[in-house]
């Protein structure tokens, strides 16, 4: 953050982001909190070189948002991002960061893949995670 006007600009934009979509803004703020260089949750979860540690942090934060979010929309967005973080770890690192059973995980990821209301990069992430899970589930490391 270089200048005073940059900093003021960031704070003013929070208001516009909340006006546009409060729940998506909340998910984006969590992503920016984990990695300040990322502009959004989608960017954090789909970037090819995202560290596994960031995905694990994101999964935990979105899991909490899914349960404790202020509104139904928050909880829904939290749920989507939670699954997307798990999918990203599978696709980008070959690692499972969830203790859910294969069956439960596949059910959730397929639901995400078929959800036409979510941004296409996340649906694509879910599709690729389903493919990996179906093809080589035993090769995934677990943390």
């Amino acid at each position: 953050m270089n200048t005073e006007s940059d900093r003021i600009r960031v704070a003013l934009r929070w208001a516009l982001e909340t006006s546009a979509n409060a729940s998506v803004a909340a998910a984006d703020w969590i992503a920016q909190d984990i990695d300040p260089t990322q502009p959004s949750a989608i960017a954090l979860l789909t970037r090819p070189d995202v560290p596994l540690q960031h995905l694990a942090q994101a999964k935990q934060a979105y899991k909490t948002m899914r349960i404790l979010g202020e509104s139904a929309a928050d909880r829904r967005v939290g749920g989507v991002m939670y699954l997307a973080a798990i999918a990203a770890a599978i696709v980008l690192h070959g690692v499972r960061i969830s203790r859910q059973s294969d069956r439960a995980l596949l059910r959730g990821l397929r639901r995400l893949r078929e959800d036409s209301s979510i941004p296409s990069p996340l649906a694509d992430l879910a599709r690729r995670a389903v493919e990996v899970l179906q093809a080589t589930p035993s090769k995934l490391k677990e943390i």
Binding site: M1, T3, E4, S5, R7, I8, R9, V10, A11, L12, R13, W14, A15, L16, E17, T18, S19, A22, A25, A26, W29, I30, D33, Q57, Q60, A61, K63, T64, M65, L68, G69, E70
Partner: protein, 248 residues
Amino acid sequence: MNKRAASLTKTDWSLIQEAGGDGADAAAALEQLARRYWPPVYAYIRSTGRDVHEAADLTQGFVCEVIMQRQLFNRADPMRGRFRALLVTALRNYLAQVHRSGVNRGRPIEPSMISPAEIAASEVRTHVAPEQAFCMQWSATLISRVLEQVREGCLSSGQEAHWVVFEQRVARPLLLNERPEEYEHLVKRLELESASQAANMMVTVKRRFARTLIAEVRNTIEDPDEAEAELHDLLRGLDASQPGEGAK
């Protein structure tokens, strides 16, 4: 609600109406408005090339003559446009009048109104256009006011830990360039369950800040539905101040 909290929740337009009346309440409202708006006025004047002392004198002159004696706020009409624009126009006219007459009729305000420390804290870049300096200081003042409201709201609703997380993770790093406090420390210090809980607390307060900011912006414009347009306008004003930034 104490007097300070009450003044924080009053809208600009309700303060303006109150300032147009008589008695102690009107005087208090007038002082509240003057205190709220002198920093951008000072920034504007300083950016016209005046030195610190002359800018401070002219700021005092504008506050005394135009805001208090001529009761600028009494003439303000919410139906006639944005309050920010009204203030800039009045200020521009005042400076032109001072320039024509060759006399700065500014007179000292009570020392408590604008202290040297406040002047120093409001020091601005002198090489940006006056309107841009005004916009920047207006926005900074707005953000300070909103932060204070959010802080008081958190403390009065038993969400002190929420505020501390927001302050340490977001507000201080953003506004003071400080390093964010590690979640691990915050969880321990505030006796929270987890970092993910703390992250969601941060989001809760950041959202409250955003909503309070929108509400504050609505207070200064004629049509509450124009809040987003006003925010975009402020952002444009800040963008315009970018090129020359850096030196003081």
